[in-house]
Symmetry: C2
Subunit: 299 residues, 2 copies
Amino acid sequence: MSAILLDGKACAQVVRAELKEGIQTLAGKGVQPGLAVILVGDNPASASYVASKTKACTELGMLGETLSFPEGVSQDSLLCLVAKLNADARYHGILIQLPLPSHLDSPALLEAIAPEKDVDCLHPHNVGRLLLGRPVFAPCTPAGIIELLVRNGIEVSGKHVVIVGRSNIVGKPLAVMLIQKARGGNSTVTLCHTGSGDLSRYTRMADILVAAMGKAEFIRGEMIKPGAVVVDVGMNRIPDSAKRSGYRLVGDVHFDSAKEVASAITPVPGGVGPMTVTMLVANTVKAATLFAEGQRTHL
Amino acid sequence: MSAILLDGKACAQVVRAELKEGIQTLAGKGVQPGLAVILVGDNPASASYVASKTKACTELGMLGETLSFPEGVSQDSLLCLVAKLNADARYHGILIQLPLPSHLDSPALLEAIAPEKDVDCLHPHNVGRLLLGRPVFAPCTPAGIIELLVRNGIEVSGKHVVIVGRSNIVGKPLAVMLIQKARGGNSTVTLCHTGSGDLSRYTRMADILVAAMGKAEFIRGEMIKPGAVVVDVGMNRIPDSAKRSGYRLVGDVHFDSAKEVASAITPVPGGVGPMTVTMLVANTVKAATLFAEGQRTHL
């Protein structure tokens, strides 16, 4: 058996085309959705992610700006910047690219973002509403995964989804979204992690398996139930002298063995990544729409 | 095999004795922890829960007051009351007894409570912090379940916990607490619900099975893995003419068949219930302690 590919790039194009309508409606009201991305330091992976985020915005006629700071920037400077951006009507969304250097207090910075501009959905208020089943924004990677599945005709309702990895960005919020009684939800969810012991015991039960633990090519074919759908959230750079960059990107799934067992699988790159970026754009359009409707106080 | 009983009443007494120390320390600083409970309507179950909550407070030398309102009370009156209680230094904790009559907007009322007084942990801010792994308060029933297990020497780390029921009060926050890398966490968690199809498929895998779906005696012995620990969160009143009250309390677990299969089981009543009330007291003491330390702005 060879799995069908879940093409995130193609799916993202479809979603972006739909978003264009909302952006045009807003333009008619004199509102241009705007996203401000805060980038600290010179990590090349972070810089590349940020570039793809702002580019996705500008390509759709939105404002997408990167505000770059040296590695040594102080907590106070960033808090001051966030306060300014909260008050700046040009920006409906504010994103702080993670991870930040260790001298910075990431939670405090994320909590400083006004919840109505928290398009990355990392403010406790938005995270809490997500768990309580009353989301305003959905976190980008989990939302992108669900969109990718649903738009490829893969029903998640009633399925057993096994998630490996309990990060605040992917594993935990994805579990929380999938168990809700809502579109793109109603799954039975098992969340595994480094404390789970023999992971195969769980991964082999999955109708849909999500690998999000950040270990290159960890999930191999023999850990997958035949016919399962496999979502690979990993983005690991491993040295490769054959590449001009000196590295290649691989996921958390060992693609070659997995594709022989799974019924469908996301590639890396070109799977979850483009969907994540697209959901960020979608959240920014939503923030601008709520702003235009005067619902900023709704949060 | 006959399971050992996990005695919530006895465990609650131990925890309450420990809380007394904190209460005495606060008394030395002139602070008496205070809890205000808002009770709407005349549902006898709600009235009985509220009575046990305020009684637990007063028995420990704390202030515990019930503010009762008729079924028809308006949203605005309650919002106004909550605002007053937020500003009232006598009360460190505010709890709205659920469920509320359908004409009231429960989420809006819960969100009106100042997060630092939200001892029931239902404000989005506190729920979000719980998911993000930075809790201030822990929701009472989930925290009570974990305390009961841990204090009975039942390790949850590395265990497969299967939870049936996805309420905002029990199932969802318990899952969220158990998957954290923290004391009383690090479990692998599966969350099941009405959309899960054949529940036995999941319940039979559980090392620790938590029944929290509100269906009287639904989980029978044959749905339980031999030797599993069974936690029964159900509180169902079923008619019983032999009782003076006309009803008896049963859990979500069919006790007689379950106790022959499980290694340990919570009774109903006298299992999770007393622990829930105790955790509410613990949260109120914590709120008062943070208040005394001048950390109200910490949230």
